[in-house]
Amino acid sequence: MRYVDEFRDPAKAKFLLKEIDSLTRRVMAGRDRPVSIMEVCGGHTHSIFRYGIEKMLPADIELVHGPGCPVCVLPMGRVDDCVALAEMPDAIFATFGDAMRVPGSRKSLLGAKADGADVRMVYSPLDALQLARENPRKEVVFFGLGFETTMPSTALTVIQAAVEEIINFSLFCNHITIIPTIKAILDSPGMQLDGFLGPGHVSMVIGVAPYDFIAEAYGKPLVVAGFEPLDVLHSIWMVIRQIAEGRSEVENQYRRIAPQEGNAKSLAAVAEVFELREFFEWRGLGSIDHSGVRIRDAYAAYDAERKFPVPAVRIADPKSCQCGEVLKGVIKPWQCKVFGKACKPETPLGALMVSSEGACAAWYQYGDLDSVARKVEVT
């Protein structure tokens, strides 16, 4: 497959791994703990596990799987709101597929569907708008979810609905923004990260400049990374090279997709429809200031939270669940008390076990549990 296989070339991987190995040795000469790199985006987590990248790296590099899986950081109360909206009479609730299994306090969307709610899996917000056109007597609610990657398509859909004056369409907005989240992680006590792989697809929208503070104020290198396995290795090499050379800069490995200045049209659509919320609740991380967006007053008619009564009850994460510590990189998924026991992909307690991009599900599904056993013995 062109433009894909080139980025999965094992010979090139070998070469990069050799370079990473020698740079790591240089770095380790002056320190006594492993180099800790967070991949912010769930897409990277998925690639790392799918291609077995973690096990190819030198033991002194530790990958911390960050909060960039929008499905995973969704608090339980928001899932309950989804279920409540889906269970309204004459409603069609349209959602991306992997949000359907996220547990709410009573049930997931899959559970609501089994109980008779009309929950439809869509691949684009425009599909949801089409449902509204086809079902004029039904209220179609689209579950808007994701970082800046998916925000523009949701914004354009709302604009389109307004242009066509479609009145039976609304958005339950759960879009979140990446920058305040990275800042919250950098500010959290006990943070031991040495560098970041920046989210490639978010950067395609917002550009590279918004990360500058990470290098400048916090002195941590960040490399905007692509999602193919060679992209990931190449980006890890770029981070390690910065550390070895004592630099902290924002670099862009994903130039073929992510432009330096972002995508003006997308940003304009987002700014037209959305404004920052004062705070947004994250599963495991708690409330983070300015980390979510809501619909502007001009588009209030398309805001499901204003159009319908939404319970908006805050549900605390299960006590035994350590998703927050995993998200912040304080513990590894397999160090969580309930990992693989009470919390498994078929019965997820915490959201990180739900999506294939969630660090825990990825560990459970793709991780080498024998090497986990070894690590447990060592620690």
Partner: protein, 357 residues
């Protein structure tokens, strides 16, 4: 009640488009039902067992003995949506699926039943096309559909058309297959491209707005398996990799035999179109359904002979040795990735759901 003696009346009850449709009368046990059965099923399946339209088909025991020494008996229900898809339809699937369930046990498939549950309002012509596909697949698989049942249900009580087929076959002497028979060193073979059926069905639902030419691999595998068992009678295990894909079958083998399974991603045949389809949707082809693919566990010394036998058959041209059985890590399936890494292939906990970004 000989089928030949019944005059087949033209189907009445035109729907809004004018095409004759199934009504509850067709399930009432009376004249309309009789006409439907004759017009659609007896005509398509056309054999002496069925023509009597008795409540059961009757066979001489001696007829089974010439094929082997044990009976194999299986059943499966088919509820595929959409009913027609590139490469097949629910009827072809209902024959191939049950034939394959017999064949992978080392049986020569002989007879099928056909139970149909149809929603009122379905066009009779559609039912005829499905029955004709079943007949064609049965002819290809060299089996007879010898008994059947038709039920019509109220609109909304089922999704257009559900089919159940049961099958009887005979296992030839000396063949012993089982998921618990895999041994360290054995090779794992498949007979061709993976994931075609799963991708074709997802695409045919039309929700993806993707334009592909992927066709289902739906096919009866009795012939391929018979040739394989002749070339290599000491095969340990065969399973058709339907729902859950080869990942699920391999996990079952690893767990039943208490062995590890090591796959080589490079050796696994997946069409470019299917790979691209999966890349876009965030699906894993190892978990996609197949309807014409078997996973075989073969002793190492016989692997090349088994591969040659598969490649000799039209349904096995792209066969490949995709991995081996190992003593290490019992119960686990691992894969050496194209990238040189290694990952575990676990069972899926539910359906594969496309990722959002």
């Amino acid at each position: 009640m000989s089928g030949a003696g019944v005059k087949v009346a033209p189907m009445s009850v035109p729907g809004p488009t004018g095409a004759p449709k199934i009504t509850l009368a067709h399930g009432g046990g009376g004249k309309a039902m009789r006409e439907l059965i004759d017009h659609v099923f007896v005509r398509a399946f056309d054999n002496a067992y069925l023509a009597d339209l008795d409540d059961q088909a009757r066979f001489a025991l001696a007829g089974f003995g010439e094929h082997g020494d044990r009976l194999a008996f299986t059943t499966d229900s088919y509820v595929v949506d959409p009913l027609f898809f590139p490469g097949g339809n629910i009827g072809k699937l209902a024959v191939c699926g049950t034939v394959n369930d017999l064949a992978v046990g080392g049986a020569r498939p002989l007879y099928l039943s056909c139970g149909v549950i149809v929603e009122e309002g379905v066009e009779i012509e559609l039912l005829s096309r499905v029955a004709e596909s079943m007949a064609a697949a049965a002819a290809e698989a060299e089996v007879l559909v010898v008994t059947g049942d038709t039920k019509v249900v109220h609109r909304g009580a089922c999704d257009k058309l559900f089919i159940n087929t049961a099958g009887i076959g005979v296992i030839r002497e000396g063949i012993e297959l089982g998921a618990n028979r895999a041994r360290s060193g054995d090779k794992i073979l498949i007979n061709g491209w993976l994931g075609d059926h799963g991708a074709a069905i997802l695409d045919a639902r039309g929700e993806l707005a993707l334009d592909t030419e992927i066709e289902s691999d739906c096919a009866p595998l009795g012939g391929l398996i018979a040739a394989l068992l002749t070339a290599c009678p000491d095969i340990r295990f065969i399973r058709d990799a339907t729902r859950g894909g080869i990942a699920t079958v391999l996990n079952e083998i690893a767990s039943a035999s208490g062995v590890g399974v090591e796959l080589v991603e490079d050796a696994i045949p997946i069409r470019e179109e299917v790979r691209g389809f999966c890349e876009i949707l965030g699906l894993d082809p190892l978990y996609l359904a197949n309807e014409g693919k078997i996973v075989c566990v073969v002793p190492r010394s016989r692997a090349e002979a088994a591969l040659a036998s598969m490649k000799n058959h039209p349904l096995g041209r792209a066969a490949s040795i995709i991995g081996a059985v190992a003593a290490e890590k019992p119960g686990r399936v691992a894969m050496r990735t194209v990238f040189g890494g290694r990952r575990l292939i676990d069972m899926l906990s539910g359906e594969q759901l496309p990722r959002i970004c």
